[in-house]
Amino acid sequence: MALFQVSGFTSYLELRGQILPAGQTQLVDRTNHYNFGTKTQEFAVPLGVDPSGFLKSCNRDGGVCIDLNHGTTTLAFKFKYGVIVAVDSRASAGRYLASNDVNKVIEINPYLLGTMSGSAADCQYWERLLAKECRLYRLRNNQRISVAAASKLLCNMMLGYRGMGLSMGSMICGWDKEGPGLYYVDDEGKRLSGRMFSTGCGSSYAYGVVDSGYRDDMTVEEAYELGRRGIAHATHRDAYSGGVVNMYHMQEDGWIKVCKEDVSELIHRYRKGMF
């Protein structure tokens, strides 16, 4: 229609297609029974209801209880010899502990790591999509993607679905031409570069521990111990964190996995100073 074109009105779907990096994803009310969402990613949305409140309202109706895997403590900090990333490994669904050995760090490529906190499905899906985009970037541009660009891609994915009830707090850590990089990205579209971040429900405890022990000129062993302590103390006090501490060290020639230690054993070791 002529007026429609003259007015310059862009339909919502077109705008979304420009914002989202990987081409159009559509919000539909039922699965496409010819392609099953294999050509472009489709998201089914309940009709006439606000998606973020929909699940909560279903839970209240009695009989149905859809609890999604949640809950974490993750931390990462830069120091003289690179970036330390430490996460716990607990996933809870409501009051039930779904698993105590989840892997909350996604190894995007040998120079990029992403952590996951918040809703497990959201983190796994979007960070896997980010890994795909990083790989495509590498193939198209013949050089590895920078940490800033990778975190920006993830941030824009989150902005595309802002307000729809996603829950994700992630740290993108890597080493690129600018040196060590650490960015915090969350589901509201916040993207911050910094020296130290901690996310999840146990983050306040981890901040306290790491802030009190942090020095920029720490040795590598001291940094490992600080990361371990941060997670161990956070899991000790936060009910929704626990399991094991998975720790990675991002160095100039890539990341290495440092350790995977059970937090109860760590707390026993620290006991002398605690009680």
Binding site: L27, T31, F36, G37, T38, Q41, E42, F43, A44, V45, P46, P51, F54, L55, S57, C58, D61, G62, G63, V64, C65, I66, D67, L68, N69, A91, A93, G94, R95, Y96, A98, S99, D101, V102, N103, S119, A120, A121, D122, C123, Q124, Y125, M164, G165, L166
Partner: protein, 237 residues
Amino acid sequence: MISSQTFEDPGKMRDYHYTGPVEHRFSPYAFNGGTVLAVAGEDFAIVASDTRLSEGYSIHSRDSPKCYKLTDTTVIGCSGFHGDCLTLTKIIDARLKMYKHSNNKTMTSNAIAAMLSTILYGRRFFPYYVYNIIGGLDEHGKGAVYSFDPVGSYQRDTYKAGGSASAMLQPLLDNQIGFKNMEGVQHVPLTQDKAVQLVKDVFISAAERDVYTGDALRVCIITKEGISEQTVPLRKD
């Protein structure tokens, strides 16, 4: 008298007391009960489910197993809302056929798990109310179990229980298969016969204490020879 104790309020009966005017809305979900369990061994995997289909206070069917065969090396167990289980297994079957026709090979267990994760996430804002557990053999012939939440978060495990009695069965499996919280016990690897016996015992216990579990137990044992099924009766009350 309904006991007020529940593990995680699955299928909780509505409380009938007067609270003022209440808005009744159509709920697209229902809870049909059922429990699913999967165990992975060195060269085998077991997927077991009860066969009771219930809703509220009624039992719709005593012969509705929740294990569905996907390929010669993979079985999926789905419990939760039966309507979504049926639709989800139909969509998985269609996607398996599409993969077979495009790639001229059958999907491996971990590929099916990754695909199911994206299928479930495609309904992130209007989820399938299904708790899935996939059991099968990986490319190296070792047993593999993949457990999912309703929106697609998944991980590989050695054993997992899902469904209405999951909170009762999981600690028992942690103790017997994972040797958790036991001191001075030798960690012997699980043999196939011991695993089958354990699964049967564990379901008998679940049927004693969970109202939505019972009637019969269907066990699917996946080995490189193929998938064999056994049916064991459980309490019918």
